[in-house]
Subunit: 460 residues, 2 copies
């Protein structure tokens, strides 16, 4: 353990990069609840899921026991193209805030997909390729996940079919073209390519689409083509497993300089980044070795942790996917149209939901104008233009650092900077022009959504 002066950016060497993912479920006393069949209520096993996911990914999805799962060499080679990502000591932000706190952030935006999504995209594409599949299908909204998957598939020579919400396809042509650069077939959803798409177009001729509809189309397209599987960029246990590379690198970098964080902060939509960042730290906490304050940050307009129910719900708005037990606002919940800060998913990773339920982590919600204020302040001193999603974590990291200023405590704060905001300038513009507003759903609105939570056969 050395205590030399800490550089602005800590990079691990390639030799120091993780060779195994860490599966936090192995150390959880209460395991996350299993996925259930919406028709029968029965827990879903290997045979039930392998029609949807690749075999190896189903194994990872169901494995609650193995703590360390080897990262195949091919995936590690791909990781070397854009990893290790830097752990940045935010010296400039500290000075700006005049805080005694020591702030670090793990920056995952330095790859063309612009976010951490690539960590799981390459893993899912790799196992699809290994199983001899021809390709994968997925849905995408603004396009971050679709871009990551396109990159992974291009690298492996795998077919990639992306259903992109029509309004995004038309209004956000940039990410669409990035996906096309990587050879993906990008279809505006709803489309005439699927039965569900045709049906929706017949019923709502002018619809601009929704994520729920795009999921349904992607699932149908995978089901209809034997050589294809459907893949997803968040929520699932397997995704958190792959994303643990974020936390493992963070911990290795901190260990190198003998730094032990007091507070770990991440933004939370479906939980892919937060789950990945905190995994190894949560492991130490679960094993009683260390105690960290862990904070999930979510938008006040989509507050699944802080105001949702811990219940079984559909993972998709189309109600075709399995039921997952999670903190949820109801699968029909849609954040207010004025919400520009991302993290719009109605539910939360079952793993994180269980950990939160068991009191192992905290959650706070923040309003988007405060988030963009933090984003801008951060950009000006740290240089990086953050994604609105990531800026939720910046907001709370700054708030905690300002508390330290009041108390004089020299706490060490680590947060996840998941990505860049290049494709979010419309939202930034709204903010600059003073046109951004906040909206917090009323209790009555949420209740209306909770009333539609599914009954699970065989459970109360």
């Amino acid at each position: 353990m050395t205590f030399e002066k800490i550089p602005y950016k800590i990079y691990l060497s390639e030799q120091e990069m993780p060779k195994t993912w860490y599966n936090v479920r192995a150390d959880m006393k209460t395991k996350p609840a299993p996925l259930r069949n919406p028709g029968t209520g029965a827990p879903m096993g290997f045979e039930d899921l392998r029609g949807v996911f690749c075999d190896e990914l189903v194994r990872q999805e169901l494995d609650n026991d193995t703590a360390e799962i080897p990262i195949p060499r091919e995936i590690r080679d791909f990781y070397k193209m854009y990893r290790p990502s830097p752990l940045v000591r935010a010296y400039c932000l500290e000075e700006k805030l005049q805080t005694p706190a020591k702030i670090y952030y793990k920056f995952e935006g330095n790859n063309t997909s612009g976010s951490h999504k690539l960590n799981s995209a390459i893993a899912q594409a790799y196992y699809a390729k290994q199983q001899g599949l021809a390709g994968v299908t997925t849905e995408t909204g603004a396009g971050q996940w679709g871009t990551a998957l396109s990159m992974a598939c291009a690298y492996l020579g795998l077919d990639c079919k992306v259903y992109m919400v029509k309004v995004s396809y038309e209004q956000k042509p940039f990410r669409r073209e990035v996906m096309r650069t990587y050879g993906a077939a990008v279809t505006p959803s709803p489309s005439m390519e699927t039965e569900i798409g045709k049906k929706i177009l017949q019923e709502h001729p002018g619809t601009t689409g929704s994520l729920g509809c795009a999921i349904s189309e992607a699932v149908e397209a995978a089901a209809k083509n034997p050589g294809y599987r459907y893949v997803l960029g968040s929520v699932l246990n397997q995704v958190l497993l792959h994303q643990s590379v974020i936390g493992l690198e963070t911990k290795a970098a901190l260990d190198k300089y003998g730094v032990v964080p007091d507070i770990i902060i991440g933004c939370a939509g479906g939980g892919s980044n937060l789950g990945g960042l905190i995994s190894p730290f949560m492991g130490e906490k679960l094993r009683g070795e260390k105690n960290y304050r862990i904070i999930a940050v979510e938008p006040a307009s989509c507050p699944s942790f802080t105001r949702g129910r811990f219940a079984y719900d559909f993972c998709d708005t189309g109600m075709v996917c399995p039921l997952a037990k999670m903190y949820t606002l109801g699968s029909g919940f849609i954040p207010s149209a004025n919400h520009a800060g991302g993290l719009r998913y109605h539910g939360m990773s079952p793993v994180l939901s269980q950990l939160y339920h068991d009191g192992l982590m905290e959650a706070v919600s923040v309003e988007q104008t405060k988030v963009f204020e933090a984003a801008e302040a951060f950009a000006r001193v740290e240089g990086i233009l953050p994604a609105p999603e990531s800026s939720h974590a910046i907001r709370v990291a700054m708030d905690e650092a300002l508390k330290c200023k009041e108390t004089g405590e020299e706490k060490t704060i680590v947060f996840g900077l998941t990505g860049t905001g290049y494709f979010d300038m419309v939202a930034y513009e709204k903010f600059h022009n003073g046109e951004m507003t906040d909206y917090i759903p009323t209790d009555a609105e949420l209740q209306k959504s909770f009333d539609k939570l599914p009954q699970v056969p065989g459970l109360d």
Copy 2:
């Protein structure tokens, strides 16, 4: 000197980062020709230039003798926020091409400005601040330089006024909003804020602006306000000096692994990146210590090196700036409207022009469809989405590597990957849709432009 296995990315430590810039002029036998007053033809000295540039920058502009110029600590601290940039071994590209060549690229796109421009922006802003100035003015087209300058000014608390070509301001709102995020005042040019702007708007009420006009407005705005200076992101000697940090880091990273390049390739618009990348290598060549093949790559539609004249010309289309001796297509030359690949400047850095004239480097021109083909192939295997500008260098690096495949030679190729293409997706879309065409100016067109080259009083 070690010969261990070379990693995918070589990062220098902060201790290994350069503490001085390298001024290649010190080693040039024939120095670049001085800037001249367009009215009198007299070489411009310190007193002539200090009304336009900060004092320290004028000194750097005129210093043809000092080889090593210290980088102030404040600038080195800023560099640490986004540097060292990685030197990447393009293992995946090598495999894709099945070439025995060893390919490396220095990637300068991992900062929010998306390019190497930040290296000089922070230096120019720093000296302005040090001189006690209130702010700087500049022009920007697509916005890469304006973004870099905004970031630097935000960091130093300096006022930043950017005149952005009106058509870009309206059609490329994203970069405009990035600049606003960094607190810059961005004005569509021509504007009613300056005399020249008013005049142009009166004469051409519907004009969408031009870089030449924006330069004129920025220069006027600086001249009218005593606490302001005008700054520029390319062409100038001082810019090449600051950009030498690219080449110095590249050389240090190669030296660490005992690698000596055979060929060094860079794209060339005004020369800021190419000049910076090659400086220390050119120094060795000038001192007779090493011999490298150095190749400048330019667009076939804007071929200043390969088809231009080596003559005194205006640096701006508005003809308000000093005359510089350089390879030029004439200050009135405008690349064909179908040209989407950047590098549109009519002239070339006087330093690089002299070196090219003296046979110390080569130049080739490439057509844009070939450039985008290379860009897409590169993106798919190396992950990074390259800027069209940078892709000129990729094209020629790939061509050279394919020649090695034919001959079996294991040459080491280093090229500069100057930036990312996130804001260039309109051009990529055109390429994907098969709508991109090439245009090579005819000899008659160029001659028409050469005919307008200025007569310099006192010279032939």
